[in-house]
């Protein structure tokens, strides 16, 4: 070759790279917005809308404006509406198919906001039935923490029901047997037989006529005695069977309390489901509903999050789609969880007022980070309180020694007119009062 290098080619290459970058910058935001709406709608099974998406490359981050997730049961309402979400992503982790968000800001989070257009995906479903009585509007935490007895009182326990059923059944059996025993031949009957035998013996002494008449009586007596004995035998047999059945029932019922204990442990453990149950129990229906909404969102995301990791063995067993191949993942020293938000600054608006706070180390794999999830939210100048602060820790670093704690500090609870004594001679009425609460809940080993 006369000249090995074609310098204008380098210019063409640079021009091509520049053009590609220009086109990428021009269209990437719309592409990201469309993808989030499509994937989000697919995951949430309800329309997800986004006003705008802004992707930055240096540093790698994303800003989403007005994210609306339709309530799938009520298409004219947004289950969640978020004013703005902004976060930075670790590019290295992203290549490892892991979502590692260094800092996230969530502003203007609101629940159950009305929509101007229906957010139904498929043919519209009938709107959700009217809200349950007593759950209208926001009610702040009752602050009267129920103890285990209260939880047990509110729970319908299968074991208690079974014991009650069994007691009723035993009572019915007892009544049935009392009636049956009453119907069985008793002492009187046998005394009567004795009398009749005696008469027959006397008749024998009365000559041939008396003897012949007595024969018929003997046969009849024998039949009656035989029938009575058969009746007693049958009753004995049935009693044995009934007793055996009752014994079995008692034995099976004795195992049910443990099932109840296990069920309650699961229900009120600090799992996402348990959390919503505790919230409903401690903080009234509305907050329970919110937690349930969050839990539903988590359940929706869970299968997708589970797909984020695939090891070599999985990949080898997978048949690749044409022209795509299979990505094989290796275990590197820098082991990050599949999903990690190091810091999330969250602000949300409730009817009672505005709250804001920080959540740190949000991940489902704490053993990998070695750090517990911590959160702190506070609201000032609220409807019925001067301030509320919630501090919490969810520690699952060692799953065998889980330790979770929540501390609620409420200050300046305004208590209105309250009659303390109805006595006409000495009436006492409190016109105004303020109360401070300091509550702490701890859970150990789930």
């Amino acid at each position: 070759m006369k000249k090995r290098i074609r310098w204008p080619g380098l210019l063409v290459f640079l021009a091509l790279v520049g053009l590609s970058y220009f086109l990428l910058v021009l269209f990437i935001d719309d592409f990201v917005k469309a993808r989030i709406e499509a994937i989000g709608s697919d995951w949430a099974k309800a329309k997800v809308e986004l006003d705008a998406a802004d992707l930055s490359f240096v540093p790698l981050g994303l800003r989403l404006q007005r994210l609306q997730v339709t309530d799938r049961k009520n298409p004219m309402t947004n289950a969640v509406e978020i004013g703005e979400i902004a976060f930075l992503i670790d590019p290295g982790a992203a290549l490892d198919r892991k979502i590692h968000i260094e800092e996230m800001t969530v502003e203007g989070l609101r629940l159950n906001t009305p929509r101007t257009r229906s957010g139904a995906l498929a043919p519209e479903k009938p709107p959700r039935a009217a809200k349950k009585k007593g759950t209208e509007g926001l009610q702040l935490p009752a602050l009267d923490l129920p103890d285990v007895k209260a939880i047990l009182a509110k729970e319908s326990l299968a074991s208690l029901q079974l014991v009650e059923d069994l007691r009723q059944e035993a009572k019915q059996e007892e009544a049935k047997w009392k009636a049956q025993i009453a119907a069985l031949p008793d002492k009187e009957t046998f005394k009567d037989y004795e009398q009749r035998v005696k008469k027959l013996k006397d008749a024998k002494k009365g000559g041939i006529g008396g003897f012949l008449g007595g024969m018929q009586e003997v046969v009849s007596l024998q039949k009656e005695i035989k029938a009575d004995i058969e009746q007693i035998r049958f009753a004995k047999k049935t009693l044995k069977t009934d007793l055996s059945t009752l014994k079995d029932r008692v034995q099976s019922v004795s195992k049910v309390p443990m099932d109840d204990i296990n069920r309650l442990k699961e229900k009120y453990a600090l799992s996402p489901k348990g959390l919503s149950n505790i919230s409903r129990m401690l903080l009234r229906e509305q907050i329970g509903d919110w937690t349930e909404t969050a839990f539903q969102a988590y359940e929706t995301l869970q299968p997708h999050l589970a797909n984020l990791s695939m090891d070599r063995a999985d990949a080898a067993a997978q048949k690749p789609p044409r022209g795509k191949g299979v990505d094989i993942h290796f275990r590197v020293q820098r082991t990050l969880p599949n999903f990690l938000v190091e810091t999330a600054n969250v602000s949300f608006q409730l009817e009672a007022g505005n709250f804001s706070g920080v959540m740190r180390q949000i991940t489902t794999q704490q053993p990998l980070t070695g750090k517990p999830l911590r959160f702190r939210f506070s609201g000032q100048a609220l409807k019925d309180f001067e301030s509320i602060t919630v501090d919490g820790t969810v520690n699952r670093i060692d799953p065998a020694q889980a330790m979770d704690a929540v501390q609620l500090k409420a200050q300046g609870h305004r208590i209105g007119s309250l009659r303390l004594s109805k006595d006409t001679d000495f009436p006492v009425e409190m016109k105004n009062a303020r109360a401070d609460f300091d509550t702490e809940a701890r859970m150990q080993n789930g």
């Binding site: 070759m1 380098l10 290549l95 990949a315 080898a316 990505d327 094989i328 820098r334």
Partner: protein, 174 residues
């Protein structure tokens, strides 16, 4: 089809050095056999544009190798899978996996690995073989082809004329 044959014959019959055409075939093989949107293909594009390889030969061969790649997909997947799961290479792959550049290069994809490894292995033999074949063609068959009825017919077409004019304007580079 005629256009393709015309282009191909034009390339072979031109005074372009055999190495320029052979190198174009080899680069086209790398880019054509592996998934188009791979990082190494950006590097191939840079080399094709900067090194004096025959661009027409590259484009023509690229189309041909892309067609072959579709048929060989399962083979490349198996080769890639074999390489990426080989115990002896586990340390190497794990080391590369920890480096962002290699992750962007998608070396851990079975198809990328299989096709790229195959193309790189075939690169030197293809270069030498096509060099030799082009030389042999020019020495033994060129005159015969120039005189053939097919070539006469092709030369008579307006397309060929236009192509020739354009080539003369561009020079040897293709």
């Amino acid at each position: 089809m005629l256009k393709t044959i015309a282009k191909f014959l034009k390339i072979l019959n031109s005074e372009t050095e055999p190495a320029q055409i052979s190198l174009a075939f080899c680069f086209a093989m790398v880019a054509g056999l592996s998934p188009l949107l791979s990082l190494h293909n950006v590097f191939v594009l840079l080399l094709v544009l900067v090194l004096r390889v025959n661009l027409s030969a590259f484009l023509l061969a690229f189309v041909g190798f892309s067609g072959i790649a579709t048929l060989l997909d399962p083979v490349f997947h198996q080769i890639g899978l074999g390489l990426l799961t080989a115990e002896a290479l586990k340390g190497l792959w794990t080391g590369l996996y920890d480096i962002t550049f290699w992750r962007i290069a998608r070396f851990n994809n079975t198809l990328v690995m299989g096709s790229l490894a195959s193309a790189l292995v075939l690169f030197p033999p293809l270069f030498l073989l096509s060099n030799r074949l082009i030389r042999q063609y020019r020495a033994r068959f060129l005159k015969w082809v120039q005189k053939s009825k097919l070539m006469q017919a092709l030369r008579a077409t307006k397309l060929y004329e236009a192509y020739e004019t354009l080539s003369q304007l561009k020079g040897d580079g293709g």
